[in-house]
């Protein structure tokens, strides 16, 4: 009896070893193991902080009590918070639209440059995007400096009155959007350029034979072929622009009168500088539903077109 039991045990061990062996040979297991370091990294650096932010957002100011959605409820009653929501939407949407338009136009220009010199132009046009934004914004700060603006110096040369670039709400909003467009447009340009290169030349030839004008070629050939990349780029940029911190922080610090604050800078002001971490976490999390709605619409459109193809 004992002998049978021992043999049974050996068989069981042998079978578990062979099934482990089989498991290890499966492609999905290998893929999982290879992706594991990245999964761990994402869990540590993205999922944990995100979960912790949600936890913090549900605590009271002294972080001693669970208050559920109390912080969000509080924010909804604050005038400054709604101003930040408005400014964040204005900043992100305007900047993305302008980046997309400029990126699209410049991509066409670059696409039409003979391939010999194109590389040089591509490299130069990417410069604003590759410089760390905090550094380039510092240069813009000097150009917009309240008292010593280089732009105002040039304007004065033409007899034009100085402009309060960062001193008046309208101009300050314009300034932060302008810098964001300057930094982000090259990203759109390079993405659109890649998309343009993948449009089959035969389509343009066929359109030309049909007598299509340049505008019709863009409307009926280029844009439909680039729709997915335009949507993805816009979504990606919308997320990054909504979460922007450095441009506003360096250029205006949210002034004048808090009218240039975006979610991230306001969250920093409230959470870190004023010592109300739960409220700061709530402000920063407020971007999530807005971006989730935008992402749902854009990605649904892409999936729909994908299944049509």
């Amino acid at each position: 009896m004992a002998d049978i039991a021992a043999r049974g045990a050996v068989t069981a061990t042998g079978s578990s070893r062979s099934s482990l062996h089989k498991l290890m040979q499966r492609k999905s297991t290998i893929a999982f193991l290879m992706a594991l370091p990245l999964i761990v990294l994402i869990l540590t650096l993205v999922a944990y902080p995100a979960g912790y932010a949600v936890y913090l957002a549900m605590l009271n100011k002294g972080m001693t009590r669970f208050v559920g959605f109390g912080n969000f409820d509080f924010l909804f009653g604050r005038e400054t918070f709604w101003m930040v929501v408005y400014q964040s939407c204005l900043f992100a949407i305007t900047a993305v639209i302008f980046k997309a338009i400029i990126g699209f136009v410049v991509a066409h220009f670059v696409h039409n440059i003979p391939s010999k010199g194109q590389r040089k132009w591509r490299g130069m046009l990417l410069v604003p995007w590759v410089i760390p934004p905090a550094m380039s914004t510092l240069a813009w700060l000097w150009l917009f400096d309240p008292s010593y603006s280089a732009f105002n110096w040039i304007l004065a040369g033409f007899g034009i009155d100085r402009i309060p670039w960062t001193g008046e709400t309208g101009w300050a909003r314009f300034s932060v959007i302008l810098v964001n467009v300057w930094i982000g447009a090259p990203f759109f340009m390079i993405m659109y350029l890649a998309a343009l290169k993948s449009v089959p030349e035969q389509l343009y030839e066929a359109a030309s034979i049909d007598g299509a004008t340049w505008w019709q070629r863009i409307w009926y050939v280029t844009l439909p072929m680039m729709r997915n990349i335009i949507a993805i780029t816009a979504l990606f940029s919308l997320i990054v622009t909504f979460a922007n911190f450095d441009i506003v922080r360096v250029l205006t610090k949210g002034d004048p009168l808090n009218t240039t604050h975006v979610f991230a800078t306001w969250a920093f002001r409230v959470g870190i500088e004023s010592g109300d971490i739960p409220l700061g976490a709530s402000v920063s999390l407020f971007m999530v539903p807005i971006l989730a709605v935008a992402a749902t619409f854009i990605l649904r459109d892409i999936t729909k077109r994908g299944s049509e193809v």
């Binding site: 005038e79 010593y148 001193g167 949210g254 004048p256 009168l257 500088e273």
Partner: protein, 446 residues
């Protein structure tokens, strides 16, 4: 390879023998017998100023046989603030940390009480001013030790020549080096007239109206000069009163003579205004003058640091202290306290003041008369009145005497400067007061 099996009996016997030997062994003081201590201190603006602190700490560490790790953390980009927040969250970090103005109160529940350090220091070095006590002592407990390094006054730094020629004010006669001030006539009305004269002469006063510290500190002192309190010590909102109205009316008149873009100024703007030669007066510690000494010596030669103008409620000068504190999770609290006592001795404080060129201000009464302030120049004596040696003005901080957690938010969100700008831009007084009251109501949540 030889492997030997250790029986349970043998293991117990050996462990007991080793333990007995360790307990019975005589105490031999090693190189670092008193343990380790890690410090996170503010990285000074003034080049070389950290060296004095380093020397004081090293001398103490050598004497006490403590292994010290020293990090100088910049406040540029809020690095020190972020480090403090991260250490408080993680409950791990430096044993001793530099805490800026509002932070001891913010982290009051996580700091070791320092009564046993500060009270003997007060006996030895004299009393601390009311602002230091308000910020550092909560509920009868000292939360941190007032630090020499980083503590500063933000009073006026005037151009001697421009004030004389444009406004007819001799700032050196008003605040003579080595003597008590003769500044009875230096009132907010005189200040306003001088601001107007200098602006008309093309050298406007450089006072910011943004939400950064320099702008807020000036607004705080002017509000105090009118007795204008937004929240009282009990936490009652007192925005809607005549004194606040008077302060806003005054600011409206003053703003007409300040640079147009003052609402966009940050803490560097006023420095640039002075150093470039454009401004007749700014509100700043002597760092702007020190930069001028290096970059624009002709401007520096004409700079004179002095007291604040007085208002109906008195003369108030903005004072921003730094503190050194110890987290409750620190493992070597007794060594930390010993070091903080050593760092607060008069000779240590004087070393720090000399190294900072007079920028740093000890908070203790008997330590405000070091030779440095009388001798620094040019012009000689330019810093004599910087440490308020004759107690000529009440040292204050914006948003006091509100409870700390409310006051800190009034301060960091620049409520007073925002009120001034709103009212100046044409908003009705009642609307401005309503806005401020609503904002402050929001700061009261628990």
């Amino acid at each position: 390879m030889v492997s030997r099996k250790v029986s349970r009996r043998r293991f117990v016997a050996s462990t007991a023998a080793v333990s007995t030997a360790l307990v019975a062994a005589p105490f031999v003081r090693g190189a670092y017998a008193a343990g380790k201590l890690s410090l996170g201190l503010w990285d000074h603006w003034v080049p070389g100023a950290n060296k004095a602190t380093e020397e004081v700490i090293k001398a103490w560490a050598d004497k006490e046989k403590v292994e010290v790790t020293l990090d100088f953390i910049t406040s540029q980009g809020n690095k020190l603030l972020l480090t403090t927040a991260a250490e408080a969250q993680a409950k791990s970090g430096h044993d001793v940390l530099a805490f800026s103005t509002w932070l001891p109160a913010r982290y009051s529940e996580q700091l070791v009480t320092m009564n046993d350090v500060v009270e003997p220091l007060i006996k030895q070095n004299g009393a601390v001013n009311g602002t230091v006590e308000y910020l550092g002592k909560v509920g009868g407990k000292w939360l941190a030790v007032p630090a020499t390094v980083g503590s500063q006054m933000k009073g006026p730094c005037s151009r001697i020549d421009l004030m004389k020629s444009l406004a007819g004010i001799d700032v050196q006669a008003m605040y003579p080096a080595g003597s008590p001030p003769k500044a009875e006539a230096w009132t907010l009305d005189a200040f306003l007239k001088a601001a107007e004269a200098c602006q008309k002469g093309g050298h406007a006063f450089g006072i910011g109206l943004g939400t950064t510290s320099d702008s807020v500190d000036t607004a705080g002192a002017i509000f105090h000069s009118f007795g204008a309190i937004l929240v009282d010590a009990k936490g009652e909102i007192t925005v809607k009163n005549d004194k606040v109205r008077q302060a806003l009316e005054y600011y409206k008149k003053l703003m007409a003579f300040l640079p147009e873009d003052a609402p966009a100024w940050d803490d560097a703007s006023n420095n640039k205004w002075l150093v470039s030669g454009k401004g007749a007066l700014i509100m700043n510690p002597p760092s702007a003058w020190a930069v001028a000494k290096r970059d624009a010596p002709k401007v520096a030669e004409q700079c004179w640091t002095h007291g604040f103008p007085s208002g109906p409620a008195g003369r108030f000068g903005p004072f921003l202290p730094f503190f050194w504190g110890t987290w409750s999770f620190s493992k070597n609290q007794s060594a930390a306290k010993s070091l903080l006592t050593a760092m607060s001795q008069p000779d240590a404080a004087e070393k720090m003041v000399i190294a900072s060129g007079g920028y740093d201000l000890p908070s203790f009464e008997k330590l405000t008369t070091f030779k440095t302030w009388a001798e620094e120049g040019p012009p000689k004596g330019t810093l004599y009145h910087y440490p308020n040696p004759h107690n000529h003005q009440t040292l204050s901080i914006a948003a006091a005497p509100a409870p700390h957690k409310i006051a800190e938010q009034i301060y960091t969100q620049g409520i007073q400067t925002q009120m001034a700008v709103r009212f100046y831009k044409g908003e009705a007084m009642d609307k401005t007061l309503d806005w401020a009251a609503k904002e402050i109501e929001g700061f009261m949540r628990n």
